[in-house]
């Protein structure tokens, strides 16, 4: 017989009606071939010895039984994932920011960070928007795409944008008031360099497309008679 092909087994004792089989007990005994198995084994049905279970290590009865049964929390199999990215947003898409300091600005999308926020850049030279995170819900994706292949956005993640933890050292009164004002307002130079390096490749690909630079420099606004539900972006 072919090793892996077995015919699906037909029932040995078909139902006449539910609960009543066609063959009697003795007929089924014969059909199953139990007489042959017995004969092979010398008159008795083959048995194997029970495995001896290892004696469970002696456990002292616990000192404390809680009054009510403790409930176990339900199993939670949810995984934390970044927000699903809309199909209209792909790396290089021009987005319109709808709220915040840069509302109305048209901006280039670089990638989605692990927190779900979108990493976006003006580019800074064109419209003053730096490398920034933006939430997907506060953005409209346009159909305009920019070629982003020259841009390396690998090193940017949510930590890069996090708040810097300041070391607390000065506690004496005289120095207290002075030290606070020092480091707050200036952007560290390496962030400025990151901005320049990301924008350099971008600006090149933007300038190769006619009018794209002024498009990105202009802001979006609703005018009289414009109905957002009828606009195609």
């Amino acid at each position: 017989m072919a090793p892996q092909q077995r015919k699906p087994h037909v029932c040995r004792n078909p139902d006449l009606i539910r609960g009543v089989g066609k063959y009697s007990r003795s007929k089924m005994y014969h059909k199953r071939g139990l007489w042959a198995i017995k004969a092979k084994n010398g008159g008795a049905f083959p048995k194997h010895e029970k495995k001896v279970a290892d004696a469970a290590p002696a456990v002292k009865p616990p000192k404390f039984y809680p009054a009510d049964d403790v409930k176990k929390p339900l199993v939670n199999k949810r995984k934390a994932r970044p927000t699903k990215l809309r199909a209209s947003i792909t790396p290089g898409t021009v987005l319109i920011i709808l709220a915040g300091r840069f509302k109305g600005k048209r901006v280039v999308f670089l990638k989605q960070l692990t927190s779900g926020l979108l990493l976006v850049t003006g580019p800074f030279k064109i419209n003053g928007v730096p490398l920034r995170r933006v939430n997907q819900s506060y953005v409209i994706a346009t159909s305009t795409k920019v070629d982003i292949s020259g841009v390396d956005a690998q090193k940017f993640d949510d930590k890069y944008f996090g708040k810097k933890v300041e070391k607390k050292k000065t506690k004496s009164e005289g120095e207290f008031f002075e030290a606070e004002k020092e480091e707050k307002n200036t952007l560290p130079q390496d962030k400025k360099d990151d901005q320049k390096s990301v924008d350099a490749a971008l600006i090149k690909s933007i300038e190769s497309v006619p009018d794209l630079k002024s498009y990105l420099g202009a802001r979006f606004s609703l005018k009289a008679g414009m109905k957002p539900h009828e606009l195609v972006f």
């Binding site: 809309r86 209209s88 709808l98 709220a99 300091r101 509302k103 109305g104 819900s137 506060y138 953005v139 409209i140 994706a141 802001r219 979006f220 606004s221 609703l222 005018k223 008679g225 109905k227 957002p228 539900h229 009828e230 972006f233």
Partner: protein, 112 residues
């Protein structure tokens, strides 16, 4: 808000008018307001606006947080009837003086 550049005036919201509260002939339910959004005339057009945030902005004599302007936030919940009127719920109920007043319907949370 940065006040440095006061340049272009940009409108990123649609204008709306508060019509009143949800009501029947002799009873009104102030927890939901009815809003007429400019340019929206059918139930199908309202679908785009479902869930969008709205703000009712008003002025007061006393400065709060450095401004005379105050705001009640809310959102579009569902269409009301067949001709583009919209039901809206606000963080706190709109005051009766808002009837006939302007409301800003923003384009976020966006789905485009």
């Amino acid at each position: 808000m940065v006040k440095g550049r006061e340049g272009e005036r940009i409108r990123l919201y649609t204008r709306g008018t508060v019509l009143g509260y949800k009501r029947s002939k002799s009873n009104q339910y102030p927890n939901t307001s009815l809003v007429q959004i400019e340019g929206v005339n059918t139930k199908e057009e309202v679908a785009w606006y479902a869930g969008k945030k709205m703000a009712y902005i008003y002025k007061a004599k006393v400065k709060k947080n450095g401004s005379h302007y105050r705001c009640i936030w809310g959102k579009v919940t569902r269409p009301h009837g067949n001709t583009g009127i919209v039901r809206a719920k606000f963080k706190s109920n709109l005051p009766p003086k808002s009837m006939g007043a302007r409301v800003r319907v923003f384009m976020y949370p966006s789905n485009i």
